[in-house]
């Protein structure tokens, strides 16, 4: 019990919401798509990856298909894919814009997506077209609830 209390206190210091039901972390200050991608916006630059919930449900990622630098991405449209357990899953962009950087580490270390979904496992960086699009995304509390509801379906 004491360790759970400690965990919750530590979590609020680190600005993490802790699930007591599952183990997926959700970070505050990020925005989330219902296809389980996250986006961190700094000015008109955005970093995109998949969430902890997503990587947990995918299994061990063995391959990441990345777009070319300079490619256009569109909110809700696929820009790449990950492969795990013999399944390729499309990754959709939470925002529209132009790809300015891709995470080349993922070529040799696709497992970073599992090990560090919000940090070293980032996938692309985007120059954002239209920051209004962020309004249609979920905040951390909404996303946490969304995941709980989805997981309760089976």
């Amino acid at each position: 019990m004491a360790s759970k209390l400690w965990a919750t206190k530590a979590a609020s210091c680190l600005r993490i919401s802790v699930f007591h039901r599952g183990f997926a972390t959700v970070l505050k200050d990020l925005k989330y798509a219902d296809s389980h991608e996250w986006v961190k916006v700094e000015g008109n630059s955005a970093t995109v990856g998949i969430t902890d919930h997503a990587q947990d449900h995918l299994g061990d990622v063995v391959y990441v298909e990345l777009p070319e630098v300079g490619a256009a991405v569109k909110q809700g449209a696929s820009f790449g894919a990950v492969e795990s357990v013999k399944a390729t899953s499309d990754i959709n962009s939470p925002i529209s814009g132009k790809v300015v950087e891709i995470n080349k580490e993922l070529h040799d270390s696709p497992g970073l997506v599992n090990a560090s979904a919000y940090e070293n496992g980032w996938i692309i960086k985007v120059e954002v077209n239209n920051s209004n699009e962020l309004n249609s995304l979920m905040d951390s509390d909404q996303y946490a609830k969304f995941c709980e509801e989805e997981d309760a379906k089976h």
């Binding site: 296809s35 997503a54 947990d56 449900h57 995918l58 299994g59 061990d60 063995v62 391959y63 298909e65 696929s78 894919a81 492969e83 795990s84 357990v85 013999k86 399944a87 390729t88 899953s89 499309d90 959709n92 989805e150 997981d151 309760a152 379906k153 089976h154």
Partner: protein
């Protein structure tokens, strides 16, 4: 209380790989916009080798002309997984289902596909199990009896599983199956103690296992007339 879940089953006989792929693309698009319900294609292919998104063609041990001379086709696909062979007497299931509607992730979905084949094998006293880490599929000891390769696009699945009823296993000699060297491929007929019933029975049993494991409550079977009319309409 169980939520009612509908599935439409299409029993298709032998279908050319490209045709099946085109059909799956149409069905996936329709499923995404909720035009159709979850759909399951049950079929076989003529001799066909396929590669996944990673294009691991170093695991193809013959050239494409040699392959064609054997009467086989080669296809590059967007599914996960390595190289495999499909052919007569191998039961193929392509579920086009919405994972979001049922709250399943890729890992759990693939586990359920493995369980579907494991259950079918057990009907014939064959003890199969899921692969070790990184070896998705269904095994009888060190021998592979069922393969999986899936694509998930906006939460809708396509491609699926292939279960060896009694295919000509020599075709597998021309590839490193699923990229795993030194492991044999086997079939239900090879592993079972008795002669297995006609393939239609096995296909039906495989479908029944799928329905049970995925919890479908309302199942409609589509006959070939309505399958042709779907193709013509779209």
């Amino acid at each position: 209380m169980r939520v009612p879940r509908s599935l439409e089953v299409w029993k298709m006989g032998v279908v050319n790989y490209s045709e099946a792929l085109k059909l799956q693309e149409k069905l996936t698009a329709d499923r995404k916009i909720h035009k159709i319900t979850d759909t399951l294609l049950s079929l076989q292919h003529p001799p066909t080798y396929t590669l996944g998104k990673r294009r691991t063609d170093h695991n193809l041990l013959v050239s494409e002309p040699e392959l064609k001379a054997m009467g086989a086709e080669l296809h590059y696909t967007q599914r996960g997984g390595d190289i495999t062979f499909h052919g007569p007497h191998q039961a193929v299931l392509y579920p086009i289902i919405s994972l979001r509607d049922v709250g399943l992730g890729a890992r759990k979905y693939v586990e359920n596909l493995e369980l579907t084949m494991i259950e079918l094998a057990s009907l014939y006293g064959v003890q199969a199990c899921a692969g070790q880490k990184g070896e998705t599929g269904v095994w009888v000891g060190e021998r592979k009896i069922g393969a999986i390769g899936v694509r998930i696009s906006s939460g809708i699945t396509s491609h699926g599983l292939a279960f060896n009823i009694n295919p000509d296993l020599n075709y597998f000699k021309h590839i490193v199956p699923c990229g795993i060297a030194d492991k044999e491929v086997t079939s239900l007929q090879k592993e079972a103690e008795r002669v297995v019933p006609p393939e239609e029975v096995i296909h039906d049993q495989l479908i029944a296992c799928f329905i049970r494991i995925f919890g479908y409550t309302d199942v409609i079977s589509k006959d070939s007339a309505s399958i042709s009319s779907y193709n013509l309409e779209n």
